[in-house]
Subunit: 218 residues, 2 copies
DNA sequence: TAATAATGTTAGGGTATCCTAACAAATATT
DNA sequence: AATATTTGTTAGGATACCCTAACATTATTA
């Protein structure tokens, strides 16, 4: 049996690794920071997860997921995203409200539940933030990783996902009148701070570089 | 904040109390038995719950719920039953499969979630086992408590609920071709062991007294 | 390369929840 | 009422997960 805490470590490790260049391994501190937990605590848990053969690791070395560890991590991600779909599509939750509740729902243990929910939702391939949903076998398509910040002037693009899932960021996106599939034209970029002037929904808006780096486009 | 364990104690206490004559109070051992936990452990937890003003209790005395304790217990029951409805009505779970998963789902903390789910389900008043679902204020109708075992010979009745929620019992009910709303005629009762001969769906079946005591009729 | 900085581990504690064994109180029985 | 039975508590221990403080290792940089 796997505990809720263990699931969180695996999922976190998966995400931290995905956020690295090589997408292969991660360090104790990065994992601790992601989980809002002290590195000392992570060190302990790593031993336990290694015992269970869910990750590769040795003292002072980098951490990576084993096949079964990755499989479990992806299963948690799948559950999280399917629940987000449910909350958004069926219950009318807002974009920025789904994450917190899905953090709880992702730990429910019932394969049948997830299979039925998947079917009920019509086997969705992306969640409300545009992230891909692994299927029952753990397979999923890797999507474009181009951010709005990288777009050239006068290029037209479409929002396909958001990187940051925080409430404050998502609320800001909504406030700007943007959402998935919004079409954007880049008008200008300031050398000084990387901020950009955009045209979206017929309106001109200015966003910071940090903001633009958290919007995936195609 | 209330923990999952604490919610389980409150819900268990609520159910144990409902199962008593006076429906007022219960003992440590009964609660422990219901929770499949040792009485010593329950004793400890009672102190904590008393501290939080969720129950009335003193050493060697009977236990009862305070207003706020009962409110919380009913909220857990509400969540449990709404989730059972969801699993049964929307996801196609079987009668005997809903309970176990609902035991997990009932601990998700989100008032908005339950309100939206309630609406999504069309504000159901009973769960798949015929038990009443408290509304958002914690109010619900108390339903008939007449068991099939009490019915007189030749009386016609209808199943409105089941008492036992165990997988083995529910599977047996299904196997006999019975379900909520099934109409039953009592043909005979054996003095010897209280077993009954019934007519249901045009077929004659014999059930034990224990079985009959777990079927509520009207 | 030696000092410094960053990263990671160990030791020693704390809380929550559970357990067994031994004991205490309340209730039932003779 | 005295004893036996049932019921409930306390003491001491275990595990999971988290923390701080001190220490060890690795990486960086002067």
């Amino acid at each position: 049996m796997i505990t809720q805490a263990e699931e969180n470590y695996l999922k976190a490790l998966y995400h931290v690794i995905q956020g690295t260049e090589a997408k292969k391994e991660a360090g104790t501190n990065a994992l601790a920071a992601y989980l809002n937990i002290k590195p000392a605590t992570v060190s302990e848990m790593l031993k336990k997860l290694k015992e269970k053969d869910l990750l590769h690791y040795q003292r002072y070395g980098k951490i990576s997921l084993t096949k079964s560890g990755e499989r479990l991590a992806i299963e948690v991600v799948r559950k999280h995203r399917l629940w987000e779909c449910f909350l958004y599509e069926k219950l009318g939750f807002g974009w920025e409200e789904v994450h917190e509740v899905a953090e709880q729902l992702e730990h429910i243990q019932s394969a049948k539940l997830m299979d039925c929910l998947d079917k009920f939702l019509g086997y969705p391939e992306i969640d409300p933030h545009g992230d891909p949903i692994p299927n029952a076998k753990g397979e999923f398509k890797i999507r474009s990783k181009t951010t709005l910040a990288e777009m050239r002037i006068n290029k037209l693009c479409k929002i396909v996902a958001v990187k940051d899932n925080s409430v404050s960021f998502l609320q800001y996106v909504v406030k700007l009148g943007l959402t998935l599939s919004s079409k954007i034209k880049v008008l200008q970029r300031q050398e000084f701070d990387g901020s950009m002037e955009l045209e979206a929904n017929g309106k001109r808006i200015i966003v910071s570089q940090k903001f633009a780096e958290n919007i995936y486009v195609v």
